[in-house]
């Protein structure tokens, strides 16, 4: 897909989202969902970059999200660091963690990478709940319940003034998406694809697998960390409940729906998944069953997600007309 095309799709999606407050701006519940949707869209896109473009089976995306959220929360609550600064610091810290996790993964095959990264996810819960976490200021199993909102020039962005907060989130999401767009269409992106398709061949061309894989870990965990930190300041509280499997599965569904390696499919995937999830809410306990069945069916029938479907349709359209 050309970068113009990606940018156009992104523009349309975000454009539509940007005008939605005109219709639903007074419905707080929906605005809330839209904001969360934007946050997930970035996280899912980062996951897509590492998995779909770089071909690294990372299962640590939620872990990085939580690391970012907690870092910023701890800075803001225990050290009274202003929110914006705390968010940046959280992004950098998470990027560092990403590189640390990435290092052992460099030499490993797919399912091993998945396991090591998911291992980070699994050890995070006992760590944050245990003595080490409490000493750092994680609040143990209670969590951090008093994270201050982001304040810019004396104006607080919280759920109390939801429309400005929505646009701030939108700006963040667009920025992150543009960064991703630029990266995957730069020399980096080509290098990722070359490494994924044939690592040996790419290395023989002088592409350093070591360097690029670490860069991918650093970049995606930085963005995920920033967004995670933003989430913490927006919701105002954090708990280890984020590490339960619900969020992990939802993000994965977004990827499958949007199409893996089909950026900006993940953004579309996020909006569609959240909408479907809300629509299925009346099903109660059958909701999760339906979501599971949906994943199986989608992987089988729509291997490249909505994006693949869309591209195929438009390609067919282009040749017929």
């Amino acid at each position: 897909m050309s970068w113009q095309r990606m940018a156009a799709i992104m523009g349309v999606v975000y454009g539509i989202v940007a005008i939605l407050p005109l219709f639903v701006g007074d419905i707080r519940f929906i605005m809330q969902i839209l904001i969360i949707c934007l946050i997930w869209a970035v996280v899912a896109s980062c996951w897509d970059v590492i998995m779909g473009f770089a071909g690294i089976f990372s299962f640590g995306q939620v872990a990085f999200f939580v690391i970012g959220a907690y870092t910023s929360g701890i800075f803001a609550v225990s050290w009274q660091v202003p929110a914006v600064l705390a968010i940046l610091m959280a992004g950098l810290f998470t990027a560092g963690m990403g590189v640390l996790v990435g290092l052992p993964c460099l030499k490993l095959a797919g399912p091993y990478v998945a396991l090591v990264t998911f291992g980070v996810h699994m050890t995070l819960m006992p760590l944050l709940r245990g003595d080490i976490g409490i000493a750092l200021g994680s609040g143990g199993s209670v969590g951090i319940l008093t994270i201050p909102p982001i304040t810019l020039f004396g104006y607080a962005f919280s759920s109390a003034n939801i429309i400005p907060t929505f646009y701030l989130t939108l700006a963040l999401a667009v920025t992150c998406s543009v960064v991703i767009l630029v990266v995957i269409n730069s020399y980096w992106g080509t290098a990722f694809l070359a490494l994924k398709d044939s690592e040996e061949f790419a290395v023989s061309l002088g592409i350093s697998a070591f360097k690029y894989k670490l860069m991918v870990f650093a970049l995606t965990s930085f963005l995920t960390g920033v967004v995670g930190a933003y989430y913490g300041h927006y919701i105002g509280m954090l708990s280890t409940r984020m590490l339960e499997l619900d969020l992990f599965v939802t993000l994965m569904v977004m990827l499958v729906v949007g199409g893996i390696g089909k950026f900006p499919g993940a953004i579309l995937g996020a909006f569609i998944t959240v909408t479907v999830n809300e629509l299925l809410a009346p099903l109660g306990s059958y909701r999760a069953v339906t979501m599971g069945a949906l994943v199986v069916i989608l992987v089988l029938l729509l291997p490249n997600g909505v994006m693949g479907f869309w591209l195929r349709r438009s390609k067919a359209g282009a040749t017929s007309t």
Binding site: R28, F29, I33, I36, S141, V142, G284
Partner: protein, 406 residues
């Protein structure tokens, strides 16, 4: 750009769908409980009490002449944004007149629902939730906790354990608890209480949920031979596997499962093998023999409906709904939230066991009309043996020395 428009329409319609209005001739009541995920079991028990109360109110002609309508929300696994969305959905979107929850977020829920004025009933049993309340009692005046905090429940457990008509052979205790706020709160309090009484806490272990292989801990326990083992894991499976593995080569110890005795699976799966285990249920109605005729009628009705004895939470949520309905009747307007909250706080509610009252922190502290009920498994069923506070043996119940203590 046709396809984009098509997509836009879908997204918008999808998002709008949730905002479809409700019929004006009913009063909507919000019920956020776990319907999927790891907490489904306790969610069911809370819902049984809520459903029973709402059905009774509706059968008696509704509230202020209007039928009540339950609107459920799946709290899943209590991630912060899910709790927040639940509040915005029920209070902001569905304009419910009250919210009845069980486990609801251990402090996160106070923040989420504190943004609204809708009366909110939860069973967090957690000091963290009360601490949030205390930050701003004015703002959180709509938050009503249905049970006392873990610390107080643990103290109650300790008082009853010490009051049992039983001579402990030594002063050694073993405490095992989960790594969440409830488990740690209870474990810490018990440890302190035991030490204060001159006991030795020979082993204190914090375990994650899903611990089902107890070999290593039991090895230690067999060496310690404690007079008392307390397990605080609010989930059935771990309690059952512990007991099954313990009983193969038991030590002469009183087994106290705390809240963990209340999920129905414990007695349903262990049957009479569980005879002798003790545990507690906060804001309970003693059973199976209730303290009075009204209580007995309620228990009989519950057992008739659901075919089992009362689990934790059912009576508490039932009473919560009834207390709210009573407040609304007296105020005369379900949507005058300030007045309803004020009425609840000032007047409490005349329940099955007498007048219940919320305290200054809007917590339904353990009290004579809503006691912590302490049970022992006898004949394969939970039998109330003590109520607390005040600590006293329940009616003509008897404590039986477990068969594994010779």
């Amino acid at each position: 750009m046709k396809r984009d428009q098509w997509l836009a329409v879908i997204v918008t319609i999808g998002l709008m769908f949730g905002s479809a209005g409700m019929a004006a001739d009913t009063i909507p009541v919000g019920v956020p409980l776990a319907m999927t995920g790891a907490y489904t079991g306790s969610g069911d028990d809370y819902f049984k009490g809520i459903k029973m109360a709402i059905d009774e109110l509706n059968a008696a002609g509704g509230l202020l002449g209007k039928q009540l309508e339950i609107i459920r929300y799946d709290s899943k696994e209590f991630a912060p944004e899910v709790v927040m969305q639940g509040a915005d959905y029920l209070c902001g979107q569905k304009k419910v007149a009250s919210v009845h929850a069980g486990w609801a977020g251990w402090g996160q829920d106070v923040r989420a629902y504190g943004k609204y004025e809708v009366p909110f009933f939860a069973d967090d049993g957690s000091q963290a939730a009360v601490d949030v309340y205390k930050e701003n009692p004015e703002q959180y005046s709509n938050i009503f906790q249905l049970t006392d905090v873990g610390i107080e429940q643990a103290k109650s457990m300790f008082r009853v354990l010490m009051a049992l008509p039983y001579e402990y052979p030594n002063k050694k205790a073993v405490i095992i608890n989960t790594d969440d706020s409830w488990g740690v709160e209870v474990g810490d309090t018990l440890e302190a209480s035991f030490k204060e009484k001159g006991w030795q806490v020979a082993k204190r272990e914090t375990v994650p949920y899903g611990t089902n292989e107890w070999g290593a801990i039991l090895t230690r326990i067999r060496r310690i031979k404690p007079a008392l083992i307390h397990i605080e894991i609010p989930s059935a499976q771990e309690n059952i596997t512990f007991f099954r593995q313990f009983i193969k080569k038991p030590t002469p110890s009183i087994i106290s499962l705390g809240w963990g005795i209340t999920p129905r699976e414990v007695v349903e799966n262990l049957g009479t093998a569980a005879d002798g285990i003790v545990g507690e249920m906060p804001t309970g109605l003693p059973g199976p023999k209730a303290p009075n005729a009204a209580g007995q009628a309620w228990i009989d009705k519950f057992v008739g409906l659901y075919k089992h004895q009362i689990p934790a939470g059912s009576w508490a949520t039932y009473t919560g709904v009834m207390a709210w309905a009573n407040a609304v009747k007296n105020v005369g307007d379900a949507y005058n939230f300030k007045a309803v909250n004020k009425y609840l706080k000032e007047n409490g509610y005349e329940g099955h066991q007498g007048l219940i009252k919320w305290d200054a922190d809007n917590v339904l502290r353990a009290q004579a009309a809503a006691p912590v009920v302490h049970y022992q498994v006898q004949g394969g069923e939970l039998m109330a043996i003590y109520t607390d506070p005040p600590t006293k043996a329940y009616q003509d119940s008897t404590f039986i020395v477990p068969r594994w203590i010779k």
